[in-house]
Symmetry: C2
Subunit: 343 residues, 2 copies
Amino acid sequence: MERKRLQKSSEGRPTLEDVAAAAEVSTATVSRCLSHPEKVRPALRSKVEAVIARLGYTPHGAARALASSRTNTIGAVIPTLSNAIFAAVIQTLQEALAAEGRTLLLAASDYDRKREAQQIGNLVVRGIDGLMLTGEEREPGVYDLLQRRSIRKVCTYVHHPASPHSTIGFDNAAAMVRLVAFLHDLGHRRMAMIAGLSQDNDRATERIEGVRRALAARDLAALAILERRYSVNEGRQALRTLMERAERPTAVLCGNDVLALGVLLEAQHLGIRVPEQLSITGFDDLWLAREIMPGLTTIHAPLRDMGRLAADYLMAPSTPDEAPLHRELPAELVVRGSTGPAP
Amino acid sequence: MERKRLQKSSEGRPTLEDVAAAAEVSTATVSRCLSHPEKVRPALRSKVEAVIARLGYTPHGAARALASSRTNTIGAVIPTLSNAIFAAVIQTLQEALAAEGRTLLLAASDYDRKREAQQIGNLVVRGIDGLMLTGEEREPGVYDLLQRRSIRKVCTYVHHPASPHSTIGFDNAAAMVRLVAFLHDLGHRRMAMIAGLSQDNDRATERIEGVRRALAARDLAALAILERRYSVNEGRQALRTLMERAERPTAVLCGNDVLALGVLLEAQHLGIRVPEQLSITGFDDLWLAREIMPGLTTIHAPLRDMGRLAADYLMAPSTPDEAPLHRELPAELVVRGSTGPAP
DNA sequence: GCGCTTTTTGCAAGCGCTTACATTTTGGGA
DNA sequence: TCCCAAAATGTAAGCGCTTGCAAAAAGCGC
């Protein structure tokens, strides 16, 4: 025992107790200096702070978390960082959290629901105060778990005003409806869609649904709705597939900008003039949508706002039984050179 | 007291103690079932596991970390997720960590050294077993802190075999030397560089140094070395600046692919034929380097290997006083259409 | 079966911090 | 100067888990 104490004070990092001893106050006072400075008289406080600085003391996060049952950590699960739209939101989220002294635990699901559930489980065990999720649809039991642990959560990239879970995002279906309307007004009647894989991805599903609905409302139907992984190459292949059909589309709606870029590049490769012979639309408004020639007509996803608002929501003090938050962000149509009147 | 116990077992999450009671064993045994299953007789173990499942028990990360002084958490600090090369490494890192039951704490420094030091401090307080860093140069005191806390660390994107800190990456300078040699062999003599900002960025600095050295070795000097933020637009502007000079370069070496893309687009905009009139090189080999027309000659950064190896290193059990690891990854020259013989 | 070694289990002391609650100090009136 | 409410500080009981050590059980050779 005696030896242990000695060891402790000589080697290793200093503890609250060491600080308390050196400053000749109780551990409670030191703790308060750190967590509720206003509850300590200024004179004493500065004395303690001096000792803290001298000893190079830093609190022990785990001990703190255990005693206070708050971790100051927020989790986030996204499909993948390889897609710039998720990277952008995480970037903003992290900035906003860091500004308030929170840290970010990150996990990726690779668009796999089971894997997502597992990753969420990991984060929960590790201890988080809040969790940012992508989309709303998930493995059964996940929301229960979060509820039981009273972990705040928010689904991003979607806006589901009637859902029991908070959502911060935009209306994916409505955005596609706008795109279809825009193309229809340009005279397009033969449209096809190259969507993302709808499996385990409610955003992709909603985008498809939006196109279906919008076309149906105009007594039309899609020439084809192809589902592809989000990659340039898949976009290229998909366009070839479409162009081999007897009835060729005059406009192709893509599930995101990456697919659209593939389509655009392949069209140029095939000698199809864009937009004279073929109109192309994307989704997300990545920076290359603006840089490419011709520029890509697309939907601007409000990524930074989403990250910022999610951070604010997850850091806000939570009251029991509060109503879910539903925040709709504008997802605006950005018209560029890849679309034009139907041939 | 009595009341507390009652409350505890009725509401809230079950604890190790609850499991122990229900399984009629000691808490030590339950703990062992979780952390060292091989030390428990199979019969007993399955009994305990059944109870764990029935009660829906999950361990409490903070308590575990406090008692064992291991967090199973690895930290990473990168400049920004907005650059795909960092996103890619983080993606791989996260995958590899998750596969071994570790979680990732992420922070971004925005290419600011002070901010980086602060973020590292946050992660350390929060508790991490290891830390992935970008580059080697940092605020004084940072490495001391990590040392005192005996947190394993590794610097990525660089290879400094003589450094006391582990590095996993490639030789930035050597890569540029290769690029210059390649251009020189093509007959280029008037070369300019559009580099990233070298402030607080040793990778950018080394790339510049590599170009300087390689040119000097050939009795040449750069027509200009411009430092710009990594963005398409900055690349465009920089090319204009270069082309306004009396002596125009026949080749432009860019600090990364994003700048190079800007240069390429601006060249097309200005009616400068690439590569007939101007050769352009990038760095990183982002996917668009391959997709763009003409393809970008660049250096392939081994991002996935770096992430994978960093994960392995950070998860490996550390022995005191071990020598730093230095792992050099190949950064190969990828020749595409943006370079050609000097005009 | 017996005595011994080798496993398995249980005991209980922390890990470093927070926070009710008790105690002391302070600061004003009167 | 004295008294009392209000403010500041101290006391100490945990938070939930791990782990060294002791005790008990299980094997094993004869």
